[in-house]
Symmetry: C2
Subunit: 194 residues, 2 copies
DNA sequence: CCTCCGATGGCACTGAGTGTCAAACATGAC
DNA sequence: GTCATGTTTGACACTCAGTGCCATCGGAGG
């Protein structure tokens, strides 16, 4: 990595760290971008050269989870039921979260608790859901335009995931996210569907 | 209704109509509040005395659907399965939409097509989902804090509804929303669950 | 040493949303 | 009819998000 690139990364990290600290202590809506840039020591204009909005600072932690989910789904053995394959593919989410549980739960709580952040998160999830639906259609060898099943399987899977995530956060991570996800999938898809 | 109240309603209608016309012709994000108030002949400040935001002009059409859904759910016979009761309760949505299909489909298309509107819609839906989950818990006589089933039933129901709504809008209302909803519910809950 | 390019900051602007205030106006009492 | 009251309105000023533009600085390379 060149010097310029490292400098750029430095500023980015500085902004992210300052934002995280302020958002955690004051809440999302109460924190202004002016406060963040003051804490990071850059101009307001520079902030927008790194992030499109305050929301983006947090949402970027999601990275390329959507692509990873789709790839993981495509990699599941064809013998698995769609529901089972989707459940296993969700491991890319739970793995990411388990890699740093405290931070993940803090970010998740922040997101679930702020309407603006939640909106951006759901916007992303809508895309992921569509991608997963398309991949399930391929796996099931049906036309997604006429057969609702792949899309509904994806939609139900994400509904289960959202519920599991909420339980996980509300319970302060007492129980594993995977445990919640297993419970939820077993209920929505039944023993037979999985 | 007093004269003052009727005058207030008049201004409100004027704003709604002006907004609807502009939003339909220019799109949601492209239309500014200044354009709306200019078309309605009131000041910008007055707009905000009637609506909290541009989004609210559209979102208010949803009215008290959440409360109505909950009431309808509570009114379903106890003998029905939770899924069946939820499906029948969704009639408050389909009835509202069928009361004026062209307008409903236009509004739905506008909402599904605009990130800001979609966000506000989903925010509302989250509340409805929670309410429906609570009502289902009562109906199922279980504690929603420990038993995921009522919440998941509501979540899956809304997932089915969202998918059905999208199909309905994408198909330009060619097929009844109720038809889509029946198809979706049969898939996600199966013949047994209903 | 000079040139070029990327990063930065400053400035001005649009647009959303809010607080404040004074003028306008309908309502009700006398 | 007149006066007092409460509501609605427009105007202005302000904060905050987000964008375009331009001058400047500093490092990389010839």
């Amino acid at each position: 990595m060149t010097l310029a690139e490292r400098k750029r990364q430095l500023v980015r990290d500085e902004l992210t760290e300052a934002a995280l600290k302020l958002l955690a202590s004051q809440g999302f809506e109460e924190t202004t971008i002016d406060q963040i840039v003051a804490a990071a020591g850059v101009s307001r204009r520079t902030f927008f050269r790194y992030f499109r909005s305050k929301e983006d600072v947090i949402i970027e932690f999601l990275g390329h989870l959507g692509t990873k989910l789709r790839d993981a789904l495509a990699a599941r053995p064809a013998a698995e039921t769609p529901a089972r394959a989707l459940r296993e593919a969700f491991a890319v989410f739970t793995d990411t979260y388990h890699h740093n549980p405290e931070k993940s739960i803090r970010l998740a709580r922040l997101t679930l608790g702020s309407p603006a952040l939640m909106a951006r998160y759901l916007e992303r999830q809508t895309q992921w859901r569509a991608d997963a639906g398309a991949e399930l259609a391929r796996r099931m060898k049906v036309d997604p335009a006429t057969d609702l099943r792949p899309r509904l399987t994806a939609a139900v899977g994400f509904a289960a995931f959202d519920t599991a995530l909420t339980c996980w956060v509300d319970g302060d991570g007492d129980q594993d996210l995977n445990t919640w996800l297993d419970k939820a999938f077993r209920i929505v898809f039944g023993e037979t569907g999985l």
